[in-house]
Amino acid sequence: MIMKQLISFIRKEFYHILRDKTTMLILLGIPVVQIILFGFALTTEVKNTHVAVLAPTNDEATQRIIDKLNASAYFDVVEQIHNTNEIQPVFRDAKAKLVVVFEDHFAEKIRHNGVAHVQLIADATDPNAATSFSFYATNIIAGYQQELMAETKNPYQITPEVKMLYNPQMIGAFNFVPGVLGMILILICAMMTSIAIVREKEKGTMEILLVSPMKPIYTILSKITPYFVLSCVNFATIMLLSVFVLKVPIAGSFISLVVVSLLYIFVSLALGLLVSTLTNSQQAAMLISGMALMIPVMLLSGMIFPIENMPLPLQWLSNIIPARWYISAVKTIMIKGLGMSAVLKEAGVLLLMSLVLVAASLKKFKVRLE
């Protein structure tokens, strides 16, 4: 009986979603569009980055590195400068975004000492781009070093030292994948769920459901299921895009990432449930989700503005934003490459939040119409 009820009801929920093609396209399309948009800001910057070179002693080693940089799609060497005083003007006049500074007698030092230094000075006003291209440049130099070792069988070492100008802490790097995840999941789970439940109230069908032998908890479960599925699809899309299109790797444990994400989806669904018990019209539900959920997620979660830079009251406020904890956990796992043990605090906070929210919304959910 219960299974039959659930199946009938969940099927109905899928009909609702699948028939409303516009909404479904938007829901499935948003993550793709956002990831591509954010992603292109990153990739276009990296291609053909203008490079200036300071090589006090122009020898065969510096020349080969310069050629390799030039040969890659990422860099165009546009200027040779001759002393350190010229570095600032190069950035100021936006002639180049990266200055490669070799030690003097570079080739000689490799040969005699086995160690030579090269400094990469990056314009980090766009931190995403700066990380990427300095990472590429470091790789190219490491590539040359390997070639050199293969040729001569000697353990040569070229140590590139990366220096970020203008934004040395690199806040904002790789921020958007966790940020988009945090936002999309809240959007789908909380907003769509609350609207779907409130729609039944508004249309009068909720009354029919309450009069039926279907238990309210099953009604809720069935309403949540399709949005849960949709969230999982979105999670997968975002992961695939970020790994294969943006090349943002999942450095840490994928399982931990899934666990934390499920926890966050759960919190979002509970939030949506709570919103639906507080309102009686779809518009109100949308407004509450939009104003009370989306905006704090965007502004206070650390997705756009770093939390450390906020005034203290806002920092406290950010603690009650689930997305803050989720984004932080995703960054730790995806970017820093750590596992579950590193995000226990975040996972704990999310778990606590979900318990409180579920308790609150079940208490508020009106089993009886009065």
Binding site: M1, K4, Q5, I7, S8, F9, R11, K12, Y15, H16, R19, D20, K203, G204, T205, E207, I208, L209, L210, V211, S212, P213, M214, R368, L369, E370
Partner: protein, 254 residues
Amino acid sequence: MEDIKQHNPAKVIIAENLTKKFGKFTAVDNISFEVEKGEIFGFLGANGAGKTTAMRMLCGLSIPTGGKGEVAGYDIETQTELVKKNIGYMSQKFSLYDDLKVWENIELFGGIYGMKDAEIKEKTDKLMQLLNFENERDKLVGSLPLGFKQKLAFSVSIFHSPKVVFLDEPTGGVDPITRRQFWELIYDATSRGITVFVTTHYMDEAEYCDRVSIMVDGKIEALDSPKNLKKQFNAKNMDGVFQQLARKATRKAD
């Protein structure tokens, strides 16, 4: 307590001193009545008289503050689940899903009431024939005219063969011809032994009922067949009866 326990199959609805208070406000004040199997029971009253509150208590949606009630042989306070299984309900708001096809709506409610797939299919075929809906079967409900929808909503509310069906102003905004057809469906249901409990604003519809109760300020002021009521109040029609009683009301409409 004792006489309510005595199961009487002929009495499908029993209300005994049923009362509902919201704070200091008494929405339903000590009402008692009985409805027999297969009867069409009209439940009349001005807006705010307490009709809807009384009906919700009988449907198991609202717990009475005082008194007792029994629907389809089950206690409305302690056996709400069994009550719900044995009643149908159609509200004044149109209550099917617009973005679902006709057969999908039927299938959904059949499923919610735990009917078997084969039974749902067989009864759907029959119903489509009865309503002359064979061509509409695969259409979205939202694309149907209001009269069609109302008839379908009623048919869905009795699809699981409940003992009682509660109709809350079912014919609001429907043209007279469709209302006529709607009442034919109601008569058809009673002929199959379904008891009909209906609230309405249309006094001509009150004439179609076997018995009518008129609520004023939370109390039942009159209860009899339309014929007897007209005699008692010396009125030409039910509207005359209603006007005389409703004038006494002190409570404002909500």
